[in-house]
């Protein structure tokens, strides 16, 4: 038989140990991440804050990637799970509920201060439950309808968050919830750290380490999921749902699992976000945010974990970088700001999405072997097989 490849590709190493080159790269990245906040801090606290948000977006992107990239389900309402996680922690760890519900105030005289390590699992489970609730009826829909229904669901959540302040004030409406407890590890309060190991680290730096650690945990979980029986089942469904079913894969349940696992990531990120920021409001959970996360994974490389992380880092750092360069630049050149930072940010997302879909549909860093995502053959179709596979799935 003819060899169609020039040289047979190397088999992946069994047992999951990355080759030494990759390990070295990981160590280098790890070292850089440890040093980064101190370097960034020299330019101002705003940069460390930005890095914290990068970590949050990485978690969100990884979660959405499970749904869109691994299982091939376009979810445009993903941010709703982020909201569920955030509001859960906010309600459990702020004065709001005790202020508005006297019965609770009596039950908890010193206020509701549920530790984040308890609230996070609760928020994550709640998000997963919502994921199953949403997913169960809609997963049988075809791709574009699924996208719109999930979009509708996301909007419903946002409207409820905005309006559940009367007659009983659950969410405090558009004003949101404030005075949310910071993260506490034992007696150690991340918002007022005091002296640690002989140094006085700022609270921002400590949050950075926490969020980056959680983001790396998320990466680990994703990589393990991908290279497993479940990950293969997701890939099979994405490639050819009919064949996957014929091979005994319970497509409905496996898709539901993707949905709820993705939701869990969102829920965890949401709880951390609420603790970090100290307040939450419905504004942070609009359709735009869902689209932002989607553009991150599309830009980076759908289904490919390193690509997704790259996309998240790029699309969350670039607007910050632009904010600090483009605005002064315009002031210097034009004397006034023609395009402000917010608009630049949205412009960037729009251009990234359209540009990638038209010119590099697999993303900036797609998977080397299994890179072609049958969903996005693109204008210059990557390979005849891919478009065919996708049209089979319809």
């Amino acid at each position: 038989m003819n060899e169609t490849a020039a040289e047979p590709p190397k088999p992946p190493l069994a047992g999951g140990r990355p080759p030494p080159r990759v390990l070295a790269a990981m160590a280098a990245v790890g070292a850089a991440l440890i040093v980064l906040p101190w370097v960034a801090g020299a330019f101002g606290d705003a940069w460390i804050r930005a890095l914290c948000f990068v970590a949050l977006y990485v978690m969100l992107s990884l979660g959405l990637n499970i749904v869109v990239g691994f299982a091939g389900l376009l979810d445009l309402g993903y941010i709703a799970f982020y909201a569920v996680g955030a509001y859960t922690y906010a309600l459990l760890a702020s004065p709001h509920l005790t202020e508005h519900f006297p019965a609770l105030a009596r039950a908890f005289p010193s206020g509701l201060h549920v530790s984040i390590w308890v609230a996070l699992p609760i928020g994550a489970s709640l998000a997963a439950a919502f994921g199953i609730l949403l997913g169960a009826p809609v997963l049988k829909l075809r791709g574009d309808y699924l996208a719109i229904v999930t979009l509708g669901f996301g909007e419903i959540i946002r409207i409820f968050l905005n309006n559940l302040n009367a007659p009983l004030n659950f969410t405090n409406g558009p004003s949101g919830l404030t005075l949310i407890d910071p993260v506490r590890i034992g007696h150690f309060d991340l918002a007022h750290p005091g002296v640690v190991l002989g140094m006085r680290p700022s609270s921002l730096v400590l949050y950075y380490y926490l969020l980056v650690a959680m983001a790396m945990l998320a990466v680990l979980v994703c990589v393990r999921l991908q290279d497993s029986r479940l990950g293969r089942a997701w890939m099979a469904i994405r490639e050819d749902e009919v064949a996957a079913r014929a091979m005994g894969i319970n497509v409905r349940n496996v898709k539901l699992l993707a949905f709820s696992l993705g939701a869990t990531f969102g829920g965890v990120a949401g709880g951390l976000f609420a603790a970090f920021q100290g307040f939450v409001s419905p504004e942070s959970f609009s359709l735009n945010e869902s689209i932002v996360v989607l553009s991150m994974i599309v830009l980076g490389g759908l289904g490919h974990v390193p690509g997704v992380v790259l996309g998240a880092v790029m699309l969350s750092m670039l607007p910050e970088a632009l904010r600090h360069t483009a605005v002064p630049l315009q002031l210097a050149v034009f004397g006034r700001v023609l395009i402000d930072a917010e608009v630049l940010r949205m412009l960037l997302y729009g251009l990234a999405t359209v540009g990638i879909m038209l010119y590099r549909p697999r993303g900036l860093w797609p998977a080397p072997e299994h890179g072609v995502q049958p969903m996005f053959g693109g204008a210059r179709a990557a390979a005849p097989g891919a478009a065919e596979a996708a049209s089979r799935n319809g």
Binding site: M1, T4, P9, L230, R232, A246, G248, I249, L261
Partner: protein, 274 residues
């Protein structure tokens, strides 16, 4: 005592005005290679799709290895022990050959999400076993050297073999092949025949739809002939090829009256198109 692997009786399926299957029955014994033939549009693929859960039948009884079997969800079919291939080859094109077969192992393995994330000992062992058994299957079928190639890069004949390997990975009691010889040249068909004979020898029962009458007659133990959704003949290849109803269905009434057997001994290059 020969046990029966699949018994289907009174299978009916209607599509709007068309009765695609009418009172079809099939009995496949263990260790057989069972052929289902018939002219185009006879209902062979419809029956296949009914059997494997892709289409719900209007009525019929099914028994798989003595137990009642109702082909509902397609994914339960594999678990019950019927694995199929597709007429148009439905591989996972951007997964490697090895991964394709590993997916076949899905239905007989158990690791779940938690196992995956925690990399439990059980999961790691199971994963290693999946990998080695998949490679062994590929080697056995003769395409082991393609393990790390993307499925869509394989030559056509090897893609068909890969699909069979993937189906075998589900440890089926019945292997249902939908036109496995389609698009193959004579050499490839000889190899296919040898492969199917070997598979039968290993204890797997085979049901196959085919258009290549020569291949079917030479390979199958029992043959059922469908025409317009009805069974018009059933028996050994020798019996069937002499049945005037069958000849009429394929070649027309004139030939049936002459009662000559179906032309099996044509020149070797023929691909048996009807």
């Amino acid at each position: 005592m020969v046990e029966c692997v699949l018994r289907a009786r009174s299978v009916n399926k209607r599509f709007g005005g068309l009765q695609a299957l009418s009172d079809v029955q099939v009995q496949i014994d263990r260790g057989q290679i069972y052929g289902l033939i018939g002219p185009n549009g006879a209902g062979k693929t419809t029956f296949f799709n009914v059997l494997t859960g892709l289409l719900p039948p209007d009525s019929g009884t099914f028994e798989l290895c003595g137990h009642p079997y109702w082909p509902t969800d397609a994914h339960r079919v594999a678990k019950a022990g019927i694995a199929r291939t597709f007429q148009n080859i439905r591989l996972f094109p951007d997964m490697t050959a090895l991964e394709n077969v590993m997916v076949g192992r899905h239905v007989r393995t158990h690791a779940n999400a938690l196992d995956a994330v925690l990399r439990t000992r059980r999961a790691r062992i199971e994963e290693a076993t999946i990998r080695t058994s998949a490679q062994a299957l590929l080697d056995d079928i003769g395409i082991g050297h393609y393990a790390c190639h993307l499925a869509r890069t394989l030559p056509y004949g090897d893609q068909r073999r890969l699909e069979i390997a993937r189906a075998l990975a589900t440890e089926p009691r019945l292997l249902a092949l939908d036109e496995p010889a389609a698009g193959m040249n004579a050499t490839e068909k000889i190899a296919l025949r040898a492969l199917l004979t070997r598979i039968r020898a290993s204890g797997v029962t085979i049901l196959l739809i085919e258009h290549d009458v020569k291949l079917v007659m030479g390979l199958c133990d029992t043959v059922t002939v469908l025409d317009y959704g009805k069974v018009i003949s059933m028996g050994t290849p020798a019996q069937v090829q002499r049945d005037p109803d069958v000849i009429e269905a394929y070649l027309g009434r004139a030939h049936a009256l002459v009662a000559s057997p179906l032309p099996l001994h044509t020149s070797a290059g023929g691909d048996g198109s009807t």
